[in-house]
């Protein structure tokens, strides 16, 4: 078996364990109405450690494969999906540590997914909601890593000459950073819908986490569009060819913009948690299709 496949398999299992741990504590806390401080410390660190170890293993596999093929990763569906999963781990865990956007003054302490503690939230229920979103996001990422590994195992097309340039590597990296956030945005909204049945106030925290993740990833997605246009100018003489990978990337970008603006639309607040949840599902679908159709970039 190829080394990179083994590494990705290990990464997927590690992330699944982290996500399962996080979800188990969240669900137990929901059942018991709270969670012990010591237990919280342990289970907050555990998933994050799993996520970062999984990320390192995943990146190791991608680097090894790139070295062997002498091409930047992201030219095939499997590689592009793995890049998205890696970026999701990085963004989701980073934002969850910091409780805000990147470069937030959060320090190394992991204070619960999003580390949120709203006014009057003496039981830390908002933190539990954020943890639920984080755990769900990790589980989804783990499944994505395993699925992409199977895809990379089955389909090994030769790298197109256009994938040998650093501009393509830049486009792939930026796109995955922009698209990866959608996994945690969707998980946050699912958590909100689930918890909204129990506690309407707490349910607002998970979209808050989702919003922060998307806010952190959206500029990267915009930069990916620019890098993609530059690469296409160099490789195909036109900035925009309308191939599926291009189209899904723009769809994910447009839906991201709509999602971010939804927070300031009064009518959307009256409709509750459903409009952002629907948008986040559409955004996630577009993100996965943008990565899954990476092969169309070389048509």
């Amino acid at each position: 078996m190829r080394l990179e496949l083994v590494l990705w398999l290990v990464a997927g299992l590690m992330v699944l364990i982290g996500g399962g741990l996080c979800l188990a504590v969240s669900l137990r806390a929901a059942g018991q109405g709270g969670v012990q401080e010591r237990e919280r410390e342990l289970t907050d660190r555990g998933p994050a450690v799993c996520a970062y170890l999984g990320l390192a293993t995943l990146v190791g596999g991608l680097a090894w494969q790139g070295w062997v093929k002498r091409a930047w990763p992201g030219a095939t569906a499997g590689e592009a999906l793995l890049l998205v999963a890696g970026a999701a781990l990085l963004l989701g865990t980073w934002v969850s540590h910091a409780g805000g956007a990147p470069h937030a003054a959060g320090g190394p302490r992991f204070a619960g997914a999003a580390g949120l503690k709203a006014a009057g939230d003496t039981e830390g229920a908002v933190g539990a909601s954020g943890r639920l979103a984080y755990g769900g996001g990790l589980l989804a990422t783990g499944v994505l890593i395993l699925g992409a590994t199977v895809l990379a195992w089955i389909v090994v097309p030769p790298a197109a000459p256009q994938a040998h340039t650093w501009l393509f590597g830049l486009r792939s990296g930026l796109a995955s950073l922009g698209l990866g956030g959608w996994l945690f945005v969707f998980a946050g909204n699912l958590a909100a819908l689930w918890q909204g049945r129990v506690n309407a106030t707490v349910s607002e925290a998970a979209p808050g986490t989702a919003h922060a993740v998307l806010r952190a990833g959206y500029p990267w997605l915009t930069a990916a569009l620019l890098a993609g246009w530059s690469w296409q100018m160099a490789a195909y003489a036109v900035p925009w060819r309308g191939v599926p990978a291009d189209l899904w990337l723009v769809v994910a970008w447009l839906l991201g913009g709509a999602y971010l603006m939804l927070g300031s639309a009064r009518w959307a607040k009256r409709l509750g948690a459903w409009p952002p949840a629907v948008l986040s599902f559409a955004g996630l679908a577009a993100a996965l299709l943008a990565a899954g159709q990476a092969g169309s970039l070389f048509w």
Partner: protein
């Protein structure tokens, strides 16, 4: 004691009084302006464009540059891929959505909307430099903390305003006998973020408009060395002089000619040949077979490519992944050649690429006069004619005129700068809810910032605690 505000920093505290006055009814123009330039319109347009592009991503789209019979062939083939639905999809223009009037209308609406937003935002940005906007609602999930304040209420609020105004120049305060609500904002370059992004979006649309009106694309021009092609509807001739290198390192030497001049250069993979607004790229390379022929006296024999009816003393046959078989003829000698390109013929001892050449007499195509394989170079004799065959490479080139590239690049950079400013810069908002109960004041401070909510809250608590310390004896 807190320091007085600097002279150049005018304190603006807006007392928001609850009023019973009826708000004047907005006129129709105002209503339309607000509707067309509002957030809801932005969301609707973004989602509509996303849906349009989704349909375009699901169904195959007609490549640019096709016209006449080629367009008809492509559309028929695309419709045939959807039995039963094909003709309806074709009539609806689904296979040409990216060049349809619907897309143009949508982009025009977006341009109009961006213009309105730009006008609104320019005004709002100017006003918002120092003035707090309507207090945004506090949403659950933001970090907050309780801090006791020494009473009574009014002097405490004055001290609080003094302490906050240095860090949060835009301040709004609403007070009642039971307590007070302070909403404070700190704004920096990020207030220009939306303005810059709308401007970027408009520049992008301008670039697209210019490209659509004055640009053109010529795709998949297959040329062997010495070959040339003319871009339709333009006076541009592209010639391929030679190809150097192999695989990913292959580089084509090309010559571009227009009535005003000629320019030569090289085009490799992702290394385009650029001449003004003209871009030429090499999209693929592959094998080709160059053929020359002479009679017994050494005189050149005219050759003809069957496929393109191209004639000459030297012809070159390009082989692509979909076109592995070619034919050519020597009409004066009544000889027809069939050439097949094989990546390998292991059963005949060839592990690498090889050509199979068969020559037929013009009147009998059932049995070849000659059959042989050619790896790199060979000379074959048919009657008194000598044919020299040599392996070479062909290149698949694309050319495009992109006159709107400058506004596109500027628009993209502005869009990115605007989004980075809006989402990542240090815009900070703070809410302080002060309640007076049994003579004691308690402030609940909440903070939000794209740069991190908790860090901003920590500094805010420090500021509020400072007012307490200043009050202490």
């Amino acid at each position: 004691m807190s320091n007085p505000p600097p002279e150049n920093q005018k304190l603006e505290v807006h007392l928001i009084a609850k009023t019973t006055e009826r708000t004047p009814r907005p006129d129709l123009f105002d209503t339309l302006w607000r509707a067309a330039g509002g957030t809801t319109a932005t969301i609707l347009l973004a989602v509509t464009l996303a849906l349009t592009l989704t349909v375009a991503a699901i169904f195959p789209q007609q490549p640019p540059g096709l016209d006449g019979a080629a367009e008809e062939r492509w559309l028929s083939a695309a419709a045939a891929g959807y039995p039963g639905l094909g003709p309806a999809l074709r009539n609806l223009g689904i296979f040409n959505l990216l060049a349809s009037p619907w897309r143009r209308i949508l982009l025009a609406l977006i341009a109009f909307h961006l213009l309105l937003r730009l006008a609104n935002q320019a005004r709002a940005t100017w006003l918002a430099r120092r003035q707090a906007q309507d207090p945004a609602p506090v949403h659950a999930g933001l970090p907050s903390r309780e801090i006791p304040l020494p009473g009574p209420l009014n002097p405490a609020m004055e001290r609080l305003a003094d302490a906050l105004v240095h860090r949060y120049p835009a301040l709004a305060l609403e007070s009642s006998p039971e307590g007070a609500l302070v909403y404070a904002e700190r704004r920096g370059p990020e207030i220009a973020g939306p303005l810059v992004s709308y401007l970027g979006g408009l520049c992008l649309l301008l670039g697209l408009l210019i490209n659509g009106a004055a640009g053109w694309v010529l795709n998949d021009v297959t040329l062997a060395p010495g070959g040339s092609a003319r871009a339709p509807r333009t006076s541009l001739d592209i010639s391929l002089k030679a190809i150097a290198g192999n695989g990913a390192d292959a580089v084509s030497s090309v010559v571009a000619s227009v009535p005003g001049g000629t320019r030569s250069g090289t085009a490799g993979y992702t290394r385009p040949f650029i001449w003004g607004t003209l871009w030429i790229v090499q999209r693929a390379t592959g094998p080709a077979l160059a053929v020359t022929a002479r009679d017994a006296s050494g005189k050149a024999i005219l050759l003809q490519r069957a496929a393109g009816q191209e004639t000459g003393e030297v012809i070159s046959l390009p082989f692509t992944s979909s076109e592995t078989e070619q034919a050519f003829a020597a009409p004066q000698r009544d000889i027809i050649f069939r050439v097949v390109n094989y990546p390998a013929l292991p059963d005949q001892g060839y592990s690498g690429p090889v050509f199979l050449i068969e020559a037929y007499g013009g009147s009998d195509l059932s049995k070849p006069l000659l059959s042989r394989t050619v790896e790199n170079e060979a000379t074959i004799f048919v009657g008194d004619a000598t044919f020299v065959l040599r392996r070479e490479q062909h290149a698949v080139l694309s050319a495009a005129s992109v006159p709107g590239l400058a506004p596109l690049a500027l628009g993209g950079l502005l869009l990115l700068a605007g989004i980075v400013l809006s989402l990542w810069w240090g815009h900070a908002r703070a809410w302080i809810d002060v309640t007076a109960t049994d003579g004691a004041l308690v402030a609940v401070a909440t903070a939000a910032s794209p740069a991190g909510d908790r860090g901003v809250l920590q500094r805010l608590v420090g500021l509020i605690a400072g007012t307490e310390a200043a009050d202490a004896p």
